[in-house]
């Protein structure tokens, strides 16, 4: 297995369910890591890379729902597939509202689990890509000088060089110079591209 292969984490307090879920997922060709409790999972240093969490909802100590809440509070986008012995509706609703991708009732069908894992892993991959992209943008944005950030803010608002120069009390030529630097540093190919980037940066800025 290379480090890029998706990992399926399984958290279940029942040893037999844990062991057999691991075997089943492995037989599907995925890499599996199991944990007997939510605490054990939280203490584990997870590698970056696409993954998903197969989580028992009812466990002593921290329950599956507790773990879901902790992950979401930490801004972790790890998709969760809940497995439960009961089709407990209030619990299901709560879990789905909190972003669970799937809710499987034990004993679950192999096919359902496989589909859920594939969907969840793909989703996590997308989420990680988006996060990495934003991280990258942030890094580039951080490399801009204070003046360049001021110019960029005006450019993405659709101001012409002359208007920006007037607002900043400088010459059109200087603005043009800054703008070229901004495009280069941010790696933008057009003003439209730069606007899209600034949109992505907005919630973080």
């Amino acid at each position: 297995m290379s480090t890029g292969d998706p990992i399926v984490y399984v958290v279940d307090d029942d040893a037999a369910v844990r062991r057999t879920t691991e075997r089943l997922i492995r037989s599907m060709g995925c890499y599996v890591q199991t944990f007997a409790s939510a605490r054990e999972f939280l203490d584990f240093a997870r590698p970056s890379g696409p993954a998903c969490l197969v989580l028992d909802i009812r466990m002593p100590g921290l329950t599956g729902l507790d773990l879901q809440q902790q992950l979401s509070q930490a801004g972790n986008p790890l998709p969760i597939i809940f497995i439960t012995a009961h089709g407990d509706i209030p619990m299901t609703v709560q879990a789905m509202k909190a972003g669970a991708v799937e809710f499987l009732t034990k004993p679950f069908k192999s096919r359902e689990l496989k589909d859920a894992i594939q969907g969840a892993v793909a989703r996590h991959g997308d989420a990680l890509k988006a996060i990495a992209e934003i991280e990258d943008l942030r890094k580039r944005f951080a490399a801009l000088t204070a003046r360049e950030r001021e110019v960029m803010a005006l450019v993405v608002l659709g101001k012409l060089n002359k208007q920006a120069a007037d607002e900043l009390g400088t010459t059109e030529r200087t603005v043009k110079f800054h703008r070229a630097h901004i495009m280069e540093k941010m790696g933008a190919i057009s003003v439209a591209d730069l606007v899209r980037m600034s949109e992505k940066l907005k919630p973080l800025a």
Binding site: D13, D14, A16, V17, R19, T20, T21, R23, L24, R26, S27, M28, R58, M59, P60, G61, T63, A85, H86, K106, P107, F108, K109, S110
Partner: protein, 353 residues
């Protein structure tokens, strides 16, 4: 003289007189002359008459005494007969009362056993969700393993060791599910109490298997203490399971409003001596709401419950079960938080030799 002896007082006197005359007038040929007494004959005749009369009196008295004795005898015999009849009647009544009492006791035992059975079934009913979950776990494991086997075989069957491991686990999990069903069946089955030497640790194991799921659903941590060496006790394992299950469920329910991190149920079994007799003491300690001073006496009464949905039978039945095992059941308030329910059971006395 002989007549006097035979005849008694009245006839004796007559016979004595006649005999006296006969002695005087033994010559019957001169009846008229003989009526005169010569002076020297008088003392002899008087002596004869006196002796005859004395003998008559003696025999008369003897006869009288004999008659009195006879009548006393008869009277006594009658009295004995009367008394015997009386005693027989009393005895019959006593026997009837005894068998009535035995019947009543048997009825009571049957009713108690019925009630214990009903509450046992009720408890199992309350545990249904947990039991379903408990059975579902090995089923899930079985389905997972079977699916894994199919995947492995579809993949060319290169990992036959893995397939074999999975199949071995399938049989184990099948047995695990069967054991759960068997435990439930034992609790639900209606059978008369059967005393046998039993190891209390197995009672604890079975109860934990039933209650652990319930505890995780209720967010209660369960801990067992000091269960390494325990003497055997004489008891009905199903009834003892019922008692322990009841106490454990009560403890968990008592912690419903306690902050989650503090919900701890401790089941401890230890050696315990009571009135000089060896035995075991079992404690079920919770960190729940605890007992109010006024509740302490009432909780063991039938139909008294501190729970809104409680039937109020659990503790009353638990106590009667423990007492029928020659033990005691009691409750104490913990120093910190919650309550401890304890019971003591006598150890099985080792057979001599």
């Amino acid at each position: 003289m002989f007549s006097a002896w035979m005849g008694g007082w009245g006839p004796g006197i007559l016979a004595a007189l006649l005999s006296t005359l006969a002695v005087k007038f033994d010559d019957l040929s001169q009846p008229l002359h003989g009526l005169t007494f010569s002076a020297n004959e008088v003392p002899r005749l008087l002596f004869f008459l006196g002796t005859g009369m004395f003998i008559s009196w003696l025999t008369g008295r003897q006869r009288q005494a004999e008659a009195a004795l006879q009548s006393l005898n008869n009277e006594l015999e009658n009295k004995v007969l009367d008394r015997t009849a009386e005693l027989r009647t009393t005895n019959d009544a006593l026997k009837a009362e005894m068998s009535e009492r035995q019947r009543a006791e048997a009825d009571l035992r049957r009713t108690e056993a019925d009630l214990a059975h009903v509450t046992r079934v009720t408890t199992v009913g309350e545990l249904t969700a947990s039991i379903a979950h408990e059975v579902n776990q090995p089923l899930t494991a079985i389905v997972n393993n079977a699916n894994a086997c199919l995947n492995l075989l579809d993949g060319g069957g290169k990992s036959l060791d893995e397939v074999r491991a999975a199949l071995t686990e399938i049989t184990e999990d099948g047995e695990r599910a069967g054991a759960i069903i068997e435990r439930i069946r034992a609790l639900v089955k209606k059978s008369p109490p059967r005393l046998a030497p039993c190891d209390f640790r197995s009672v604890v194991r079975n109860v934990l298997a039933l209650a652990l799921n319930e505890s995780s659903a209720r967010g209660v941590a369960v801990r067992t203490e000091s269960l390494e060496t325990l003497p055997l006790i004489m008891g009905d394992e199903v009834q003892l399971q019922q008692v322990l299950l009841n106490l454990a469920m009560n403890g968990m329910e008592a912690m419903a409003n306690v902050e989650k991190a503090r919900r701890l149920l401790v089941i401890g079994a230890r050696l315990g001596e009571r009135d000089g007799k060896a035995g075991i003491t079992v404690d079920v300690r919770d960190s729940g709401a605890g007992l109010k001073a006024g509740d302490m006496d009432k909780i063991f009464e039938a139909f008294y419950s501190t729970k809104s949905d409680g039937l109020g039978m659990g503790l009353a039945i638990s106590r009667s079960i423990i007492e029928s095992h020659g033990g005691r059941l009691w409750a104490t308030s913990n120093d910190g938080q919650g309550a401890t329910f304890s019971f003591w059971l006598p150890a099985l006395e080792r057979a001599a030799g």
